[in-house]
Amino acid sequence: MLPRMLNLRWSGYVGAVGGTALITAVLAPFQQQVNSTTVALTFLLVVLFVALFWGSRPALVASVLGMFCFNFFFLPPLYTLTIAHAENWVALIVFFTTALAVGQLSARAKQRAEEAESRKCEAESLYTQLQAAFERESEAEAVKRSERLKSALLDAVTHDLRTPLTAIKASITTLIDEARGQSVGIQSVTLDSESRFEMLEIIDEESDRLNRFISDLIDLARIEAGELRLRRRWGAVDEIISTALTRAKSLTTNHNVEVKTEKELPVVRVDANAVSEVVYTLVDNAAKYAPPGSSIVIYARRDPVGMVTMAVEDEGTGIDRHMRDRVFDKFFRATRNGDVSTHQPSGTGMGLAIAKGIVEAHEGKIWIESGRNGKGTRVVFTLPIGDDDAPQDGKAVFGL
């Protein structure tokens, strides 16, 4: 309320007149007791306040009024506008000059302060607007990125579903044509027993592939939803590796598989099925991306910090350093030349994402390094050896 009143157009002049009148009224009864310096300084105080609150023009009015009141009421001869002594002329002129200067300087300082405040407000407002614009832009960009990601994931999923379906449908339609014993268009269908068997084999393999893809999708969805429950039991690392290698036997017929484990490896308290799945995935990847005849080595050793470190190493072309984190993203696949693509045929593109989920659920870490002599790929993961206090049981996702 007060600031609004102070800001009224005429309030400055009212303040100047009122302030001067008030000081005159207060000091006039004591004109004999107070000296001219005290009076002049008190009037200067009025000018200063008026300048600070209302600016230069009301301050000018206060200065002129102050000069007249000072002369009329306080400088002899009293109640006249004449001045008897030369030193009083000096006092009056000094007062007036000082009042003018104080008034103008204070008003200017106030104006500058107001301008600075206004600029600050303007800058803050611009900053807020800019920040809001950036946030909107960044939200829009995030939405776009998310849409692009969704679209890429959808493409990858549909590609992975359609490809085996295409092989199955093409095989089945060939077999149906043959079973009907009729010609298609101008072409008769002639399938020998070997071709018929191959068609059936393709249907079988591609059905398995579809099933694997769907199982992987479900596993990944569970991991992402935080629903992966581990059934931890004490078990030997050698046995886990052996289980994985037995399962991967048909995939590694063209590679030399070697296991290098420390002699005194401790037993670990893990979900053996889940960890075996990790080793299987890494061996499967190594077999896919390393040339036939090359070696795949599985390492396991104890760490001084209560962990077991395992690794699967191949002699392929390796994965570029900047791609090493991305291969753990779902649907990303490393090609044989080390590039990454969502169109690589083999695998579901989910194996490493699932492996990462399993390792992290065990409070371990997984990462990619270069193989020996900087060649090939080594996927390393750690698992805590564990103790009996580790989280117990729950529904095992893997091995059901």
């Binding site: 549909t158 359609r162 295409t166 093409a170 072409q187 393709i202 591609e206 169109h343």
Partner: protein, 232 residues
């Protein structure tokens, strides 16, 4: 002729090559496979197939680049295998020079029909306006000099643009023609984005030549263009 026609199948999916090799061989075709565009071009140079079937999404040299490079050296029919949702790439492939496409997953009979149509077109004697005055294809008889058109034996009056459009369709019977290809052929390069011109003229042409509401001769390939079937 088709019994021993050579077909080159290019796909990065070994299983698809396997199934097509067996399926097409059982129909009397000679089939070879390649796993990417680069090796496909090599096989093409060594083997000179009569038709090429290629996937679009492949590592290294993809289907589009393969079509581009192949068209630079040969006019062999190309059928592209694509997935639903790849319309843009499909159109690009057809614009580059692919002759037809089959959408995955497909039955072998559908692919065989496309193969037969493409081989028939490739083996048909070229239609030359300089030597040929009349075109007699399926239900259509056209006199190129008098610009008279008969459909199922009945005279049909066409505007000059409709006539040009019909002749272009007849000369490319069975082939998928993209909007851009038709616009460029009939209206010229400045009208490549004017799909509405095409829609209006196709609509008018259909009213004059089709028997039923569902087009039988000028078949729409959604998002791609049109395919002309001259009928029996």
């Amino acid at each position: 002729m088709n019994d021993r026609a050579r077909i080159l199948v290019i796909d990065d999916e070994p299983q698809l090559i396997r199934v097509l090799r067996t399926g097409l061989k059982s129909r009397g075709y000679d089939v070879r496979g390649a796993s990417d565009g680069e090796s496909g071009l090599e096989t093409f140079s060594d083997w000179h197939p009569d038709l090429v079937i290629t996937d679009l999404a492949m590592p290294n040299v993809d289907g589009l680049e393969f079509c581009r490079r192949l068209r630079a050296i040969s006019q062999v029919p190309i059928i592209v295998l694509s997935a639903k949702g790849e319309e843009k790439t499909k159109v690009e492939a057809l614009d580059i020079g692919a002759d037809d496409f089959v959408t995955k997953p497909f039955g072998i009979d559908e692919l065989l029909a496309r193969i037969r149509a493409s081989l028939r077109r490739a083996n048909a004697p070229p239609i030359s306006e300089a030597t040929q005055v009349t075109l007699d294809v399926g239900d259509f008889q056209v006199n190129l000099e008098s610009r008279q058109v008969k459909v199922r034996g009945t005279d049909v009056h066409l505007t000059p643009k409709e006539f040009d459009l019909l002749i272009y369709f007849i000369k490319h019977s069975g082939k998928v023609l993209t909007h851009r290809t038709l616009l460029a052929a009939i209206w010229g390069g400045n009208y490549l984005e004017q799909n509405e011109y095409l829609r209006v003229f196709i609509g008018n042409l259909r009213k004059k030549i089709e028997l039923e509401a569902t087009p039988r001769y000028i078949v729409t390939e959604p998002w791609i263009g049109y395919r002309f079937d001259p009928g029996s």
